[in-house]
């Protein structure tokens, strides 16, 4: 397969998508990129981030969930004859939304992407960035071929599963890439976007995390954005991958929940003021016990603790379904694997404390 010459991308301003776009433009000097955006303000910040490479990018105003992205006929006529690579990185990643809302962007958007890709005669590849957690409440070894019968822990997981089905149902040359939880920009430990894991860690650091579902042996699969973006780029332009499904995960390099909590505790204990507080590692519970805890908190009316518990309820129950993601296919196609979590996790937790969960970064920004 020759290198793509014209990329159409959704989610190009997102945490993963922005890095994928920057890498692709750097890797392929002849590549021209068209990015679907709703707001011109997003375009301005993208141009700033891309630097000189932004000259090869074109802003396409549209709406992911509207028919034909609500593109003008002129835009559509410009794009479809030229685009040979579509990367669909846009998603609503909120865990707490109801299923209808999650479907709107994650399923509806994917259906629009498929329709658009079908209209591109030069299309060589449709790359869909999914999530490893489409596997929901499945446990054990998750193969890169696994279908996902459900149930799911939250609407995000289910909607991303349904999005995969929409992509797979097309006759297009699709690639589905499933990253696990991205928690750091790279192995330096820098975190420029906070997610559910960071918020849960903040509660733990504040001594407000009482219980978590899972056991000390539960694998926690975490990856860096740098690994995921590099893998997305490499697989998107890989000469030999046609249709396929790949886990962009730590796999056997995942950290166990026990080690993750202990390591975080050890690193934070380097600060005497924190150590003096005597904060314990959260108790690990089976799911029924965790649900009793949630119900008890809901009944006792302490507004702050209730808000904290509610914030975790759409995310942490995933830990009650221990799973290891097979990465053989991705590792083999890429020629490299994700760096084991244990090698960079201490730097992440140290970074979070040092920046007070990016408070200083936000103030600076």
């Amino acid at each position: 397969m020759a290198h793509p010459r014209a990329l159409f991308m959704t989610g190009a301003t997102g945490y993963i998508g922005s890095r994928v776009l920057a890498m692709l433009l750097e890797r392929l000097p002849a590549l021209e990129a068209f990015v679907l955006l709703r707001e011109s303000s997003d375009w301005e910040s993208l141009v700033r981030d891309l630097g000189p490479a932004a000259r090869r990018c074109t802003y396409v105003r549209g709406d992911l969930v509207q028919d034909g992205f609500a593109l003008t006929p002129g835009s559509r006529d410009l794009l479809t004859p030229r685009v040979d690579l579509v990367i669909h990185a846009a998603a609503d990643t909120s865990f707490s939304q109801p299923l209808d809302h999650a479907r709107l962007i994650n399923v509806g958007g994917s259906q629009q992407v498929v329709a658009f890709a079908r209209a591109c005669p030069r299309l060589t590849r449709l790359v869909h960035i999914s999530t490893a957690f489409v596997t929901g409440a499945s446990t054990g070894q998750i193969l890169e071929t696994d279908a996902c019968p459900g149930p799911w822990v939250n609407a995000y997981e289910q909607s991303k599963h349904e999005a995969e089905r929409a992509i797979q149902a097309s006759s297009l040359p699709w690639l589905i890439l499933r990253p696990s939880t991205v928690v750091s920009d790279d192995s330096s430990g820098r975190v420029s976007q906070l997610g559910a894991v960071h918020r849960a860690l903040r509660l733990y650091h504040s001594g407000l995390a009482a219980l978590m579902p899972g056991t000390a042996e539960t694998p926690v699969d975490l990856v860096t954005r740098e690994y995921v973006a590099r893998a997305v780029v490499d697989l998107s332009i890989h000469p030999d991958t046609d249709r396929g499904l790949f886990h962009l995960c730590a796999g056997n390099g995942a950290l166990t929940l026990g080690r993750l909590l202990e390591t975080s505790h050890r690193v934070w204990s380097e600060v005497p003021e924190w150590k003096r507080r005597g904060i314990d590692i959260p108790a690990l519970a089976d799911l029924p016990t965790y649900r009793k805890f949630e119900a008890s908190v809901a009944a006792t009316g302490n507004a702050r603790v209730r808000a904290i518990t509610e914030a975790l309820t759409h995310f942490v129950p995933q830990l009650a379904y221990p799973k290891t993601f097979e990465t053989r296919g991705a590792d083999s196609a890429l020629g490299y694997a994700a760096e084991p979590v244990r090698t960079w996790w201490p730097r992440v937790v140290r970074h979070l404390v040092r920046t007070r969960w990016n408070l200083e970064l936000r103030r600076a920004g």
Binding site: S206, G207, L208, A209, A210, L211, R276, R277, G278, I279, D280, I281, P282, A283, L284, A285, D286, P288, T289, K292, F293, A295, S296, A299, T300, G301, N302, R304, V305, I308
Partner: protein, 321 residues
């Protein structure tokens, strides 16, 4: 012989029994009575004409008589809980307590008075304070250490603490009774051998008026750790346990803690939660007594007594019944 046992327990509750609904009607609860009933509480005992001292005196006298113990054979008297002068007061208000702390009255200590009252002429008196609901745990722990150290063969531990008159009877969704407990600890003994103990104090939470959420969040992880620690220390597993003898806090919280410990709830002796609710004096020892009386606990059974107290203290005791 290195064995130290809890030979006997006696307790006395205050006379007036009030239901959760009656407490609510008198404005003595913070939460809805239905919630507290759902959490397992039904009745509490409230002192009206009794002082902590008068009840301790009665419980101790009864214990020594029932066990046929010569008062002069008691080498140590450990007093936990209410100190001077509130131990002698009937329904003291805060203002009365403050005024009676002035002058020499502040040195009218209940422990020495009890020693004289009961004729424990050979007993040195030690008072345990600042342990909240774990005062009796601390007293029993000290008694055991003194027996093991050869300082005495027999110690009487007493604990008394009432809520102030007209104070709310609820603390962190737990309903509380006024009670006193007396425990006889001695060398050897045929039952209730103390195998080991564990304690964690997190002084960062010395002030329960500050950072309540953090303290509540820390309750379960530290409780789990303390119980696991003592099991490891005495070489038992959760499966080995016949009973957990609890402090009488919310049944919901025991459902959660039992789940965390991998212990079925029916192995947590919860019979007294509805009957009496919580006491500051020493739920676990009251429950140990009643579990024996009701035939639930029998010789040789493996027991863990666990309790939490503001301070903040987590305590556990391993006992072979």
């Amino acid at each position: 012989m290195d064995d130290v046992s809890i030979r006997a327990v006696r307790y006395v509750f205050a006379g007036q029994s009030l239901s959760v609904a009656e407490l609510a009607a008198r404005g003595r609860l913070g939460s809805a009575p239905s919630l507290l009933e759902d959490f397992g509480f039904s009745n509490v005992r409230v002192a009206t004409t009794e002082s902590p001292y008068s009840l301790v005196c009665a419980a101790s006298r009864e214990l020594l008589a029932a066990e046929d113990v010569d008062p002069e054979s008691v080498g140590i008297l450990l007093w936990a809980g209410a100190g001077a002068p509130v131990a002698f007061d009937v329904r003291p208000s805060a203002a009365e307590s403050t005024s009676s702390h002035r002058g020499l009255a502040r040195f009218r200590f209940p422990g020495p008075r009890l020693q004289a009252h009961l004729g424990l002429t050979g007993a040195g008196v030690i008072a345990v304070e600042q342990m909240g609901c774990n005062g009796l745990f601390a007293a029993v722990r000290i008694a055991r250490a003194l027996v093991l150290a050869g300082e005495t063969d027999r110690a009487l531990c007493v604990s008394a603490e009432f809520f102030p008159a007209d104070a709310s009877r609820e603390a962190v969704f737990n309903c509380t009774s006024d009670a006193v407990v007396a425990v006889l600890v001695e060398r050897g003994g045929a039952s209730n051998r103390i195998i080991g103990q564990a304690q964690v104090t997190r002084g960062f939470h010395w002030d329960p008026c500050v950072g309540e959420e953090e303290l509540l969040a820390g309750y379960f992880p530290t409780a789990q750790r303390v119980v696991r620690d003592i099991l490891t220390r005495v070489g038992w597993t959760a499966d080995d346990l016949d009973w957990v003898i609890p402090h009488n806090v919310s049944l919901r919280s025991w459902e959660i803690l039992a789940g965390l410990l991998g212990i079925p709830l029916d192995k947590v002796w919860t019979g007294n939660i509805a009957r009496y609710g919580h006491t500051i004096a020493g739920d676990n020892f009251i429950n140990l007594h009643d579990a024996w009386q009701e035939g639930d606990v029998g010789p040789g059974q493996k027991l863990i007594l666990f309790s939490f107290a503001y301070g903040a203290h987590w305590n556990a005791l391993a006992v072979e019944a």
